[in-house]
């Protein structure tokens, strides 16, 4: 980075410019940093193939001669009468419904802000935008109290419903809709005799799809990884999402006495809990990378 200079050529061959030392330093730096980001995950993956005893007796960054992954998995799924499977199921229900619901709601709202002029539009949008900057702590305690008053706490709805409201998603969808849906589309559709909701459902939504997928994906990850609200609201362990469950087992593992049994289970459980999110990110790469650029251009 530091000593690298460009030649005034328009082609990509400017990478072959003189001063290769600077370029190699940059490449070295990038390789070291990608190692920093991946090494802990590799350690986690290797550790999930080890028994508790081997975790302590073998070197962390290499496999033990005794491959114990399948035993760990069956221990994980059997522990506390299959609690882990229930937690994964809860997380899947919670993250999927929060993602689909909040992406739909955000798309409808963003579309309205982008394509209609109506009374209170700027004020409303200002309030929505301001709410992005309010720390979620402020909402957490009153939400807990209100949810327990209404008898909703200790149900999955208690964490799904608040997650449906995603002001940042509305902001992203407004920007996306402004760029992706031409205003003439509404007029053209009306001339053809289509109602506004049919125009949205049959034409505009298709144009909005990439933005929709971006919001969906980030809402999915946010919900999958959420910890604070479920920790506050849920006290029954069979409603826990996997994050709260793993943290609970981890706190047991670090208490003297239990440690030997639980470390391997918590590590294996962590690997299983990460996989779905990584999978979703990898297969939907194209969408979210395009979508991110939107937020930042106008940001």
């Amino acid at each position: 980075m530091t000593t690298y200079t460009t030649t005034p050529k328009r082609t990509r061959s400017r990478t072959l410019a003189p001063r290769p030392t600077g370029k190699y330093l940059v490449i070295m730096f990038m390789i070291v940093s990608v190692c920093y980001f991946l090494t802990p995950l590799i350690w986690l993956l290797i550790s999930s193939t080890k028994s508790n005893a081997d975790l302590f007796n073998t070197f962390g960054f290499w496999f033990s001669p005794r491959f114990n992954l399948f035993k760990n998995l069956s221990d994980l799924f059997a522990r506390d009468n299959g609690a882990f499977i229930i937690w994964m199921k809860n997380t899947a229900i919670y993250a999927t419904s929060a993602a689909v619901g909040s992406a739909l709601i955000s798309t409808l709202a963003g579309y309205a802000f982008a394509l209609y002029r109506f009374k209170g539009r700027n004020l409303l949008f200002g309030i929505v935008l301001a709410s992005v900057f309010v720390p979620s702590t402020v909402f957490a305690v009153p939400l807990f109290l209100l949810l327990s008053k209404s008898g909703l706490s200790n149900s999955l709805l208690a964490i799904i419903l608040p997650a449906l409201i995603n002001p940042f998603g509305v902001y992203l969808m407004r920007i996306y809709a402004e760029q992706a849906v031409p205003e003439e589309l509404l007029d053209a559709g009306r001339v053809d005799g289509a109602g506004d909701f049919r125009i949205f459902a049959q034409i505009a939504f298709r144009l909005l799809a990439p933005g929709f997928v971006t919001v969906l994906l980030f809402a999915f990850v946010g919900a999958w990884n959420n910890y604070f609200l479920p920790l506050l609201v849920l006290s029954k362990s069979d409603l826990f999402p996997v994050t709260v469950g793993l943290a609970y087992w981890n706190s047991l593992a670090t208490q003297p006495g239990n440690a030997q049994v639980l470390y391997a289970i918590v590590i294996t459980g962590s690997v299983v809990a990460i996989l779905p999110v990584m999978f979703v990110f990898l297969i939907l790469q194209r969408y979210w990378q395009g979508g991110l650029s939107l937020g930042s251009v106008k940001g």
Binding site: T7, F133, F281
Partner: protein, 316 residues
Amino acid sequence: MSAITTTARPSRSGAQSSRSPGSRWRRFKRNSIPYLFLAPFLIGFIVFMVYPLIYALNLSMYRTRLVGGTTFVGLENYGRALQDTNFWEGVRNVLTFGLVQIPVMLGLALIFALVLDSAILHRKTIFRLGNFLPFAVPSVVAALMWGYLYGQSFGPIAQIAHALGFSPPAFLTPSGVIPALANISVWQYTGYNMLILFAALQSIPHELYEAAAVDGASEVQIALKIRIPLIAPALILTGIFSIIGTLQLFNEPNVLTSIAPSILNPHFTPNLYVYSLAFRSQQFDYSAAIAFTLAFVTGVLASVFFFITRRGGGRQ
């Protein structure tokens, strides 16, 4: 609201009486369309954000005592919060954390983004995805994983130190715990910020750099004078979100508290303090006051940051 009703209605009402009620109805219907699109969001927004906010604000002005019940105390809880050393100790901890973590994270994210946007690397996908992957890891998993990595019993860092004959470094000590937590957040969120900055860089027309290069500007000069100022809005946005996130630090210390309970105490961060006030000692009213005070501190810091950086950017 389909096509059939909008076209059929005026003719039906027009046949009976004057046209005006029908057209007024039609106008009302047309005007209400955007609100119908907004309705699901707005209803949820009011129920799950606005109302809880008002509820908490009201709650923060009461105090419940064992003797005497609940009484209105006005701003008394806030006065108490301002003098609460537990709260300010937590604020000091997260500020120290932020002063370490935010510059390192955003600095790295910016360098990665600049490198990815230039033509230096060939296999960019590996770096882009590799650096981003930790973002997909739940912060709970990241915290417990790093807790094991830092650990003395089977942590690989301690293993390597033992193998080399050193005494293993202790991370979760009073002086080491903040850098240790900062490292976890840098690990998790650098890639995400990198992608936002990278996306902003990608939207700049590259002809701008090429013109500067023709004039003999070096790559570093181009980065400092052209590319970074042009993505200033994205940088400021990531900075503000980082400040907000930093002051709310909760998940990592809460997960690691079982390893180092005496250091990561229940008021180590303001959010841990809110949590323990509300759920250990049932002081919901006072915890609401603490939460609002924290929001106020956050708002002040974020605005100061915003105005300083904007003025700095404006001078360019």
